[in-house]
């Protein structure tokens, strides 16, 4: 019998704590596969955020640090500047990166830190119970926008990738979605490229935004959540490469 699919070594053989239908498991796998494909496990240090993926170090078998909410890009700066030979990545959700950590991600990009950021956008705060995030789309109902997000009251959803793409220090920005096998394969290529740039010492920050399902706090079945990404989320957050590095 031929093995056509198996666990990648950097992904631990353990059940995750994520809800059924959550996208974190897929995103973890993409990161783990990339680390193994590039054979950089021995020199990679990961940064776990505050949020649902705070325990990412239980699933990814690399050296990892857990940091204060939103501060991962600053911590990554401290690590990369003192260890230029190491591969430093942060894994952050939308509350972490787009709200409380906005200053840190903007300035890390602005300084052109040679780090890789995996940005999970599920348009909601998961761990704290489904509150509105900066990325919550208009009319989306959450624990703190019970009448749906209104532009006059809570403002428009924040498009972080578009914003970061304006900065010269950000050299690669791409938005992908975890909503179909084809899209996941595309996401894998993007994650791979983002890490490769760092391996090749490319002069700046690389970030991949992944639109990821949160059936629990979208109050949907996992299948409906996938549909909602395709039919709604992508309208606000169009997929594609916003910026690429040409050497």
């Amino acid at each position: 019998m031929k093995t056509v699919f198996k666990r990648t070594p950097t992904l631990n053989d353990t059940p995750t704590h994520y809800c059924p239908g959550c996208g974190h498991g897929i995103a973890h796998r993409l990161v783990a596969e990339t680390i193994d494909d590039l054979d950089i496990r021995g020199r990679t240090i990961g940064i776990a955020p505050v949020g649902c993926s705070v325990l990412a170090y239980d699933y990814l078998d690399v050296d990892m640090v857990e940091v204060a909410h939103g501060r991962a890009p600053a911590v990554a700066t401290g690590m990369k500047r003192t260890n230029p030979d190491k591969i430093i990545f942060s894994y952050q959700g939308d509350g972490d990166l787009a709200s409380i950590g906005m200053a840190e991600i903007v300035h890390a990009a602005h300084r052109g830190e040679k780090i890789t950021v995996i940005f999970i956008n599920n348009a909601v705060y998961g761990m704290t119970g489904g509150q509105m995030a900066p990325t919550t789309v208009l009319n989306q109902i959450t624990a703190t926008s019970p009448r749906g997000r209104q532009r006059t009251d809570q403002g428009y959803p924040l498009q972080v990738s578009e914003l970061l793409a304006t900065l010269p220090g950000a050299i690669y920005i791409e938005r992908c979605a975890l909503s179909s096998p084809a899209r996941i394969r595309k996401a894998k290529q993007a994650v791979m490229h983002a890490f490769e740039l760092q391996v090749n010492d490319a002069p700046g920050l690389s970030l991949v935004e992944l639109l990821s399902p949160c059936p629990t706090y979208w109050r949907m079945t996992p299948a409906k959540a996938i549909e909602w990404i395709e039919n709604e989320l992508i309208k606000t957050f169009p997929l594609g490469c916003l910026k690429n590095f040409e050497s």
Binding site: R41, G42, R43, T44, I45, I47, A48, V54, L55, Y57, D61, V62, D63, M64, V65, E66, V67, A68, R71, A74, V75, A76, T77, G78, M79, R81, T82, N83, K86, A103, E104, V106, H107, H110, R111
Partner: protein
């Protein structure tokens, strides 16, 4: 050299790998000096976007086993408290310099000692301590840096150097020399890439039942060890003194002049100067309180360290306070006047 520059060069001699900081008066000479000298040494200097970022850059560098520091002044140190709490929870070494200014709020840029409480009580959230060194001259600004880095590495703690605007700005001759390091434990927790070993995780989240409690007891055992071994304190003419004046940092320099003047007038005055504010020299002060005498605590604030003096004295002798807050600078003559008032019968001019 001014105090800030002496401190910066001493940090370089002590082997600091990375400096991260954000501009704020009256400590701007430190980042300016570091921005020139660190690249010369092939080391890291980053001007961060905020104090929040600076302390987290320190956290990142420290997590990989590097010697890292930041410096700021009171309002900026307030912003760093989140990071210092995480450093404590993750047991990472760090050196943080606070060149204090007047507060609360934006306050002013005049020298102050208003951050004693914040410095000696942990400062951020949770049950933790930082070691606090309080230099009282430019030479000591330099001398405390190798000690600060060694203490940080030995105990995996934040060491806070608590200076003030005068110490940062004043110029005095200073001898800079490389001091031998303490024998330090290996950093077998540092994140260096997994290579051929097991995964390492630096974290402060302990969700499992009872695990956080255990960590806290471990931290407290470490703090007890620090209390036992690392108290530093200077004393002068305490043995025969009727009045013992207690002060730290720049205030202790002024107190020293006042006590010398009092002695010339025949008043039996002495002084005690805590060099470590945490751990506090409780035993030394307690011993001095065994004989009947009056204690006078002098601070450039409205009375903060005086609480620790009272705890040490435990009601055995009177503890009085004299201080000036908000950037008011003490003079030796006003302290001398206070000492005169406390003598019996009161000394008239």
């Amino acid at each position: 050299m001014c105090g800030n520059e002496a401190l910066a060069e001493a940090a370089i001699i002590a082997g600091v790998d990375a400096y991260f900081g954000y501009p704020i008066t009256p400590q701007n000479e430190i980042p300016a000096y570091m921005s020139r000298r660190m690249p010369e040494e092939g080391r890291v200097f980053v001007q961060s976007e905020s104090e929040l970022a600076a302390i987290n850059m320190v956290y990142g560098a420290s997590a990989t086993g590097k010697r890292a520091m930041t410096s700021s002044s009171s309002p900026g140190i307030s912003l760093m408290q989140e990071g210092m709490s995480y450093l404590a929870g993750a047991e990472l070494p760090a050196v943080v310099v606070n060149v204090m200014r007047g507060g609360p709020g934006l306050g002013n840029i005049a020298p102050s000692q208003g951050d004693y409480y914040q410095s000696t009580r942990g400062g951020g959230h949770g049950d933790y301590r930082t070691i606090v060194l309080a230099p009282s001259g430019v030479q000591e600004m330099a001398d405390c840096m190798p000690l600060a880095f060694d203490l940080a590495d030995e105990y995996r703690m934040t060491v806070l150097v608590l200076a003030d605007g005068i110490l940062g700005q004043m110029m005095e001759p200073v001898a800079l020399e490389k001091k031998p390091r303490r024998k330090l434990p290996p950093k077998d927790w540092a994140l260096t890439g997994i290579q051929d070993r097991e995964q390492r995780i630096v974290r402060s989240l302990r969700l499992e039942e009872g695990v956080l409690e255990k960590l806290n007891y471990k931290l407290q055992a470490k703090y007890d060890k620090v209390r036992e071994n690392e108290v530093l304190c200077e004393q002068y003419k305490v043995d025969d003194a009727d009045i013992v004046v207690i002060a730290f940092g720049i205030a202790a320099r002024v107190v020293r002049s006042a006590v010398n003047k009092a002695r010339k007038e025949g008043i039996k005055a002495g002084w005690i100067r805590p060099v470590t504010l945490w751990p506090f020299p409780t035993e030394q002060i307690s011993r001095a309180a065994e004989q009947f005498r009056i204690f006078l605590t002098v601070e450039m604030n409205c009375g903060q360290m005086v609480d620790d003096v009272k705890l040490a004295v435990a009601g055995r002798v009177p503890v009085l306070f004299y201080g000036r807050p908000g950037g008011g600078i003490l003079s030796a003559d006003e302290i001398l006047e206070k000492i005169r008032q406390l003598t019996f019968p009161p000394k008239k001019r």
